[in-house]
Amino acid sequence: MPDSNSLVANPVLLFEGPEWDFEKLRRVHAAIEEIAIGELGLDVYPNQIEVITSEQMLDAYASIGLPLMYRHWSFGKRFAHEEMLYRRGLQGLAYEIVINSSPCISYIMEENSMAMQTLVIAHAAFGHNHFFKNNFLFRQWTDATGILDYLAFARDYVTHTEEQVGTEAVERVLDAAHALMNHGVHRYARRPKLNLEDERRREEERRRFFEESYDDIWRTAQLPGRNTPKTLEEREQERADMRRKLGLPEENILYFLEKQAPRLKPWQRELLRIARHISQYFYPQKQTKMMNEGCATFVHYEIIHRLHEKGLIGDGALLEIMHSHTSVIAQPDYDDPRFNGFNPYALGFAMMCDIKRICTAPTDEDRAWFPEFAGNGDPYGTLRHAWANYRDESFVLQYLSPHLIREFRLFKVLDDAEADAMLVDAIHDERGYREIRRALARLYDLARHDPDIQIRDVDLAGDRCLVLAHAVHNGIELDESSTRAVLEQLSTLWGYGIRLEERDATTDRVIKTHEVAAKRS
């Protein structure tokens, strides 16, 4: 670059060369903050940036990205694996990890060059941070100010319990809890718990009604059912009552066990509760991975370009950042050996750039598809609205444009085990847009990704067998061996036998049953 010399000499550059120091970080952060808040209108938690080594980054990987975690062998397994991949050069480390907490903690690695640190600060400390603070799922389900304290509590509790009852006993419970972690979240806001006051009032009402309608004739009359064996209906009624009292059906298996499992000790219930809380904390992240990454990528892209336009970073830094940016958002085609599904960064970033395009330079097609915001001239406002109010599934359903479908050349394939070949049933053309959009959105629907399993019944009168039901959609059943393994874990917690019925979602017909006999731990 012939003119790079003059740029390097430019005194307004925030930094030169690859070396970073704390002063430069502070300067860069301030400059980015000005753009992020002033121009993009982001709303973020206060930032806390922590510099760590690559080894500490591996540690953080192993404990599922959290800064503190209780001890468990499975984290060691993850660590061993990540470490091998890293040491053999099969996989680079992430440049950053960001924690949904207030203050929002971003870990950045000491190996990064100053240009990369700039990218990371824009990406994590502003992009992710804004998303965490504003998206409705995070607002509704996670408590950003309390999570670090809770994790500290969890770690200490597990350590303390290990000292009291032994590592092995604790590990057994945690193993089982981890197996059920995906089924330890409340997907919907719960109905408020009945409180004593309400209960009393209801009881009062019932008694009054009984007194008012009392008639001695009924007492003396010979009615069928009294002193005679209970009818089938009555027994059914009783069981239904019992189910209602236990809060069945219940899809949060860990919650049910914590509250209702008959043989658990208090510390075991507490461990289940910890696993459940951590799972719940991650639930929004699983549902918004694509949006979250897209938001952060879009934000860093805009910010870096603004920094460059304002002459705050040099051409060299811009090129270095763009190099890493483009490799992050690469989306290989389906027939590429590197293809491994959709890259959440690529799709999220592309959709958000597309929204910006629609806001500022819409075509007629865009106007027809997105009348609400096409050409409104406020891309950032539109995006902020999307970031706040959607999750991956609804975001795709709402915002995926025909333009983008063509650009990605998306196509949809139907794979029916009955048929002898797969069928391409929609491509990027006028007839296919809506179908592709619907199908892609469904792929991001977590409720369809995780098997739909509920606790249906408990045979309290008999052998206390716990009955689960898996709703089979489109004839896709559970994997035999892993299901068996999970059920065995589950039976150590429940203490009695388990039966899992696979029922067709439309007909409620039982297709298959998995059973595990009682196992005492």
Binding site: R26, A30, Q48, I49, E50, V51, T53, E55, D59, A62, S63, R71, W73, S74, F75, G76, K77, F79, M84, R87, Y107, H178, N182, D333, D336, F339, N340, G341, R409, L410, F411, K412, V413, L414, D415, D416, M422, V424, D425, I427, H428, G432, I436, R442, L443, Y444, H449, P451, I453, N474, G475, I476, E477, L478, D479, E480, S482, T483, V486, Q489
Partner: protein, 430 residues
């Protein structure tokens, strides 16, 4: 905004978890190790090891949809030629081959879980349950070497052993309890006096001077560091176990030894060397090869050069004794020896061998292992091959000596079991 440097935080946060993981997978890891060992070369002695263990014991099961059956939908990017209504062959690997974003998160079953054991972990597992036999002689000699060890503090000693921290701590405690005025306190009084003088406050100045004098007197009387404060690091001489060992590798390199046999011997020597290295700070290795005469050689020559000639085993034993006399006095060294041979010996030499071994070598060695590398065919088919000359000779000697062991090996896979057998803990206890 807050920047925190976490780099100085303690490292190895995951070490406990890692240890727990290895403990859990111990059985699988050991199996995998034995496998890995067969492929190992001598040059990699004692390094870390990449191992792959079956996921059986370490799976973390979750409810998962089966990967076959049912109706599925995929959306993929990069359409090149398809139009709606096209039929495509299912990709190899059955249904679910056309991966979608929904199924890429965990690719489900991995057949094997791969990770790298560190050198320490590798050796710990590898030599678990193994013990060096016959340490009695070492214990008898223990008192000869001593070592300085920290042993608390003393009130006397040489200046170089002065323990500053302890000394200053005592000094501080004494100064506080005796109310020795601090330097800044004296300065404060001086300033007070000056201020009073400047303000023509005669009474204040006199009072100040008096205070100053008291303080100065007190500070002179109470020493900053008093001899009672001084502490020295104390060292004690502790007898230490003899920590050096020498290992003799004796091998027959005559024409009858094939490359395969040498390879077997090499593997055994390697194992022994790594094992000794863990027990002793310093392990010297002496390579002695022999045909009809013996010589000490370097490792490369030992394993790779080839000689022709007859076989006289006693020459090697003599050579070993010579080296011991010259360089490795049994008083200072733990002596181990391993001999590998195909069992051929010059018949007239047998008596001499048994005398040398039984009367001169075994009394001074900790342990002598004899490995007979056999022709594979005979052993593999289970026919009891006739005992060789050397085997018969050594068998007689072995009956009288505890620190002698002999085994036959025909196949690389047997090396590890044989080694285990030789050094298993229960054997050491017996």
């Amino acid at each position: 905004m807050n920047i925190i440097d976490r780099r100085p935080n303690p490292k190895g946060k995951s070490l406990t978890n890692r240890q727990r993981f290895i403990d859990r997978a111990r059985g699988e890891v050991r199996e995998a190790l034995a496998d890995a060992l067969k492929r190992r070369k001598l040059g990699e002695a004692g390094g870390g090891e990449k191992i792959a263990i079956p996921t059986r014991g370490i799976t973390e099961p979750v409810f998962r949809s089966s990967s076959r059956g049912g109706k599925r939908e995929y959306v993929a990017p990069g359409n090149k030629k398809f139009v709606a209504g096209d039929r495509i062959e299912r990709p190899q690997g059955g249904q679910g081959g056309g991966r979608s974003s929904a199924s890429n998160e965990d690719n489900g079953e991995q057949d094997a879980f791969e990770f790298v054991l560190s050198r320490e972990e590798f050796l710990d597992l590898f030599f678990e349950d193994l013990e060096l036999p016959d340490l009695i002689k070492t214990r008898l000699r223990e008192s000869e070497a001593t070592q300085l060890t920290r042993a608390g503090f003393s009130v006397s000693g040489s200046p170089s052993n002065l323990n500053l921290v302890r000394t200053m701590r005592n000094s501080l405690a004494r100064r506080i309890s005796l109310h020795r005025p601090r330097a800044d306190e004296i300065e404060a009084i001086e300033r007070q006096v000056q201020a009073a003088t400047a303000a023509d406050d005669a009474e204040g100045a006199a009072q100040g001077l008096h205070d100053l004098e008291t303080a100065q007197r007190r500070s002179r009387r109470v020493a900053y560091i008093d001899p009672v404060d001084v502490r020295y690091n104390r060292y004690e001489r502790v007898p230490k176990p003899n920590t050096q060992a020498v290992m003799f590798c004796l091998m027959d390199v005559s024409g009858s030894m094939t490359e395969a046999m040498k390879d077997l011997a090499k593997r055994f020597f390697l194992l022994l060397h790594v094992f000794l290295e863990r027990r002793y700070k310093q392990v010297n290795v002496v390579f002695i090869r022999h045909t009809s005469n013996a010589q000490e050689v370097d490792e490369d020559t030992f394993f790779h050069s080839r000689e022709t000639g007859g076989t006289i085993v006693s020459t090697a034993l003599e050579e070993m004794l010579r080296v011991v006399r010259e360089r490795y006095s049994p008083d200072n060294w733990n002596i181990y020896a391993a001999q590998a041979s195909d069992g051929d010996n010059y018949t007239e030499d047998s008596d001499r061998c048994s005398t040398l071994l039984g009367q001169e070598i075994l009394p001074i060695t900790q342990y002598f292992a004899y490995i007979e590398v056999g022709a594979e065919a005979t052993l593999r088919h289970g026919f009891p091959s006739p005992a060789t000359d050397l085997w018969r000779t050594y068998a007689q000697v072995g009956e009288q000596h505890q620190n002698f062991a002999m085994r036959r090996v025909a196949d690389p896979t047997q090396i590890f079991p044989v080694f285990h057998e030789l050094f298993a803990k229960h054997r050491a206890e017996a």
